[in-house]
Amino acid sequence: MFQNFDFDVIRRSIGYLFVEGMTFTLTLTGLATLGGVILGTLLALMRLSSLPILPRIAATYVNLMRSLPLVLVIFWFYFLVPYLGQWITGAERPIQVGAFASSLITFTLFEAAYFSEIMRAGIQSIPRGQVSAGYALGLTYPQVMGYIVLPQAFRNMLPVLLTQTIILFQDTSLVYVLSITDFLGAASKVAQRDGRLVEMYLFAALVYFAISYAASLLVKLLQARTAIVR
């Protein structure tokens, strides 16, 4: 079954796969997580605020994003971002946006919807009395949120946030539909060039599995540790 295999193709392309492909994948994962958590937290705060309209806007955004397939959203932003850029900067024609910037905007905006649901659950897990106590001490809304509610919410939800990051890491492989050279894109390009689909896709699967599995074990460990403290 493996007699026709050419495992050397992996060794020959390993630099390209990791230096170019995996760097793209990991940078995109990291930055989109950061942006997604920040925007998601803002969305969660909007959704839980007592002001008019704001909860509505946040809920509509989150529900819309969560109803659509990521592939469709990737296409949407790929074509929309140049026009949005033109609209924001007031340029003459649609702005050229690079593959990385386009992917980063897409994943940040898309994953923010998922992160916001996690942060909403985290904020709601904090007893209301703590918020009241904060106000009674004369703290303002940003202070109550920044010093009391969000640090605890973030800490409680850390395992779930990290699990969502692993999902995000796997989701970044979908930039394949834009022919971008992420890890899978790099593997796919070598596979097509050398006619070695079997070896390259098996190797790609192995690498994704190893990283995701190791990360999920770490999350479990972290969960066990934070559980003891409480």
């Binding site: 109803s67 397939p69 469709l72 949407w76 007031g90 989701d171 079997v198 790609a204 599995f209 999920s216």
Partner: protein, 249 residues
């Protein structure tokens, strides 16, 4: 709709009624055919996900150590590899690893992208269904199973008549979102050539250059599917609710 600064995009909502370059039907027909493939793929994949997911989920609640190890390995395998890569494994890699005659049969099978997507997405989702089924069974009090055993039921009967009917009712809401995920995940199969809704919107954009009309239509169709599924499942939830339990009255 008009952007300021004279954005050079020409809106043409009449495009849906213009004939598609395929020769038969309009662009709207093209999108609707994509919608039918999306639904057919999602329903068939969901069937596989439910059958395999229930079996593995039950396995992970059995007392035997071997069953748990196999169940855990199954879930980890399907959860830790991106769906896109899994579809590539089924579509490009598996036919090469099988005996040549089988591989040729797989490659020449009519509607190969459809069947690959059904199996690939079905098994991928089955790992998630297994997690839910396990959670549902574990959420029941241990006494229910023991009471069944005390009545003289076999383990299979305890699951069939006591544990699973309750467990499935408990996990109905999360199963709804897993079904919605299955529908959304069918769009990944455009990479192996399945002509589902997103793929059709994409080709409409390539043929007609009306990007935003095409994607708006696809977006609306996905939203309609969501609303229909959520409404139907709410109805089912109230229908099967157990009095005195969860959603029961």
């Amino acid at each position: 709709m008009k952007f300021r600064n004279g954005m050079n995009y020409n809106w043409n909502w009449g495009i849906f009624w213009e004939p598609s370059p395929e020769g038969v039907g309009t662009y709207l027909d093209m999108l609707l055919s994509g919608l039918r493939w999306t639904l057919a793929t999602a329903l068939c994949a969901w069937l596989i996900a439910l059958v395999f997911g229930s079996a593995v989920g039950v396995m992970r609640t059995l007392p035997g150590r071997a069953a748990q190890v196999v169940g855990n390995a199954y879930v980890e395998f399907f959860r830790d590899i991106p769906l896109l890569v899994q579809l590539f494994l089924w579509f490009f890699v598996l036919p090469e690893l099988l005996p040549p005659s089988w591989g040729i049969w797989m490659k020449q099978m009519p509607n190969a992208p459809f069947w690959t997507a059904v199996v690939g997405i079905g098994l991928y989702m089955s790992a998630r269904v297994a997690e839910q089924v396990r959670a549902g069974v574990n959420a029941l009090s241990k006494a229910q199973g023991m009471a069944g055993t005390a009545l003289g039921l076999t383990t299979a009967q305890v699951y069939r008549y006591v544990l699973l009917p309750m467990a499935f009712r408990i996990i109905l809401p999360p199963l709804t979102s897993e079904f919605l995920n299955t529908i959304k995940n069918t769009s990944v199969a455009l990479t192996i050539g399945l002509l589902e809704l997103t793929a059709r919107a994409r080709s409409m954009q390539e043929f007609s250059f009306q990007v935003f009309e095409a994607f708006t239509a696809a977006t609306l169709l996905y939203l309609v599917i969501n609303v229909v599924v959520v409404t139907a499942m709410r109805f089912l939830e109230t229908k099967v609710a157990v009095p005195g339990y969860i959603a029961g009255k």
